[in-house]
């Protein structure tokens, strides 16, 4: 073994590892470090305050509302999106040109910028001239305030997220469904199992790895919702759509409370970290049946 051949693997991974360390791993620790300080970003002196930022966070009603908004948004989005996409997947898991076209249409929001999605939906949800209110009137329902009222704003954002997400989820479900061996269904048909039983006894268990994967990645991504809020509501009205990442962004970049924002970032880190951990834990326990 020459020196070069021994060094070669290190040289080859070095650029990637350097990037990951500088821009992903180190910032995590830096953020944790900053969360113990009071710092306005301009002052050269950082003041050590221990856990003060965290106690302030959890005493702050605004932050508690942000947490509850984030949680509500996440749970609603994920449960609706998963249930609807599972239904769509079972319904649309067929061969044929039309099914392909519908699947393509379902999927299209996934590859479109969140900026575009947000702008189009803002316009669709416009209380005065928006298409949605027109549709409501067509079927004889009253107009809604959509994003303009604190009562419906978060739900409106959930609607957008579900619209954007179901296509991707449904296609992953379809891929999962297609990997279930056909003979299992044939066997169950021979056993005279009805449809509902077949679904609970075969489809759902066989789909559990996919289901589980989707729930986790949907949870993680919903918890970090930012774009739709930044563009459509800016956290309003009256803080009804302010969520964690938007909160961190505002405290970091508008109020320059770096330590405080970092502490909120650590909260996000804990949640994402826990979800990831659960994912790997259950993954190693194998939710698979194959």
């Amino acid at each position: 073994m020459t020196l070069w051949s021994r060094l070669r693997p290190y040289v080859m991974v070095a650029p990637s590892i350097a990037i990951f360390s500088i821009f992903f791993i180190y910032p995590i620790f830096y953020m944790i470090y900053l969360s113990f300080f009071n710092w306005d970003f301009i002052n050269p002196v950082k003041e050590f305050v221990g856990l003060d930022n965290f106690t302030e966070l959890f005493r702050n009603n605004e932050f508690l509302q942000v947490l509850s908004n984030t949680l509500n948004y996440t749970l609603l989005t994920v449960s609706l999106s998963i249930v609807i996409s599972l239904f769509l997947a079972i319904w649309l898991n067929r061969e044929g040109t039309w099914y392909g076209i519908v699947q393509g249409a379902l999927f299209s929001p996934h590859i479109i910028s969140l900026v575009s999605v947000s702008l189009v939906w803002m316009w669709l949800m416009d209380p005065q001239f928006g298409l949605l209110n027109w549709l409501l009137q067509l079927v004889g329902l009253p107009k809604l305030e959509w994003l303009s009222s604190p009562d419906s704003s978060l739900l409106s954002l959930v609607l957008v997220a579900v619209w954007k997400g179901v296509g991707y989820n449904a296609l992953i479900f379809i891929a999962g469904l297609q990997s279930i061996p056909k003979d299992m269904y044939e066997a169950s048909a021979l056993d005279e199992a009805n449809r509902l039983r077949t679904f609970y006894k075969i489809t759902l268990p066989m789909l559990s790895p996919t289901l589980f994967f989707l729930i986790i990645i949907n949870l993680i991504s919903s918890f970090q919702v930012f774009e739709t809020i930044a563009i459509m509501t800016k956290g309003g009205p009256v803080n009804s759509t302010n969520t964690l990442v938007f909160y961190i962004y505002e405290y970091g970049f508008r109020y320059f409370k770096i330590g405080y924002a970092s502490a909120a970032g650590v909260v996000l880190l804990v949640v994402v970290g826990l979800l990831t951990l659960v994912y790997f834990k259950l993954l190693s326990r194998k939710v698979h049946y194959q």
Binding site: M12, S16, I17, L34, W134, G167
Partner: protein, 276 residues
């Protein structure tokens, strides 16, 4: 399936498909329709679908409302640079992880896997501070550097490199091929489907990205198209929906064209990377 045998179910089935299709197509049609209307026609209720006069001028108005050429070029430069840099870094790293056994290799791969789980939304604040310390804010470097390698890409490519049969590499070694030639002439062509998948994935993600450029830029010097389009809300106090939708078309149409041309491939790419 018995649907075909029961008339009522059959009707429901097709009606459902039509409604579903409508739910995903109408927003886009609405966008197109609005982008071609005059201001007056956007503020009537009930709305009109077909504008009485097609207003192509909305597009020039949107384009000229800001330095859109600059935004566009920034978007192109950022997405392409990221893609090229990623190709270089992930091919090297994936090859090393797939083919060499070296001390600390597992640890370094562990770092890669951890990175895979860290979203930008988590670390933008500290990275912003770093970028500001290095004076890179408002430069394209701030948008490119953090993404010049991809943990996801390394993970995917390592898998497909591992699937290349050992004999092929041995044959190349007997053919006196140096290591770089084995990578470029054997491994890369063998992993082509994975690389295409990854390229689509990466390009779409960074072309569309709004969050990172928003955080890292405060001036037009390094802003990208999604930021520029979102800034259109400031035109006429946010009420100029015809201009906004015209701008939006500029952002959406290229992606939709690519999607309609390579729909199957793109869907496969995204589903594949999700399932893996």
């Amino acid at each position: 399936m018995p649907i075909e045998q029961r008339p009522l179910l059959k009707v429901l089935h097709y009606l459902g498909m039509v409604l579903l299709m409508a739910a995903f197509v109408i927003p886009f049609l609405w966008m197109i329709s609005t982008s071609l209307k005059s201001y007056a026609e956007t503020v009537i209720f009930p709305p009109k679908w077909i504008p009485s006069k097609i207003m192509w001028s909305n597009f020039t108005a949107a384009w000229e409302s800001g330095p859109f050429l600059k935004y566009f070029m920034n978007s192109v430069v950022v997405s392409i640079s990221i893609l090229l840099l990623q190709f270089t870094t992930i091919i090297l790293a994936a090859y090393a992880f797939a083919r060499y056994r070296f001390k600390g290799g597992n640890l370094l791969f562990g770092i890669t896997m951890v990175t895979l789980m860290i979203p930008g939304q988590l670390i933008f604040l500290p990275v912003y501070l770093l970028m500001s310390k290095w004076g890179l804010l408002n430069t394209l470097f701030a948008l490119i550097l953090p993404f010049s390698s991809s943990a996801f890409g390394i993970f995917m490519l390592r898998q497909s490199f591992k699937q290349v049969q050992e004999e092929l590499i041995e044959a190349a070694r007997l053919d006196e091929a140096p290591e770089w030639k084995i990578i470029l002439k054997i491994m890369v062509p063998m992993a082509r489907p994975t690389l295409v998948t990854f390229a689509l994935f990466s390009f779409i993600a960074h072309w569309n990205d709004y969050f990172w450029p928003l955080v890292m830029t405060t001036t037009d010097a390094a802003r990208t198209l999604p930021i520029g389009i979102s800034k259109l809300r400031e035109v006429d106090g946010g009420a100029a929906w015809h201009i906004l939708m015209a701008g939006n078309m500029i952002l959406v149409i290229p992606i939709l064209i690519v999607f309609s041309l390579a729909q199957r491939h793109i869907i496969k790419a995204f589903v594949y990377s999700g399932v893996k």
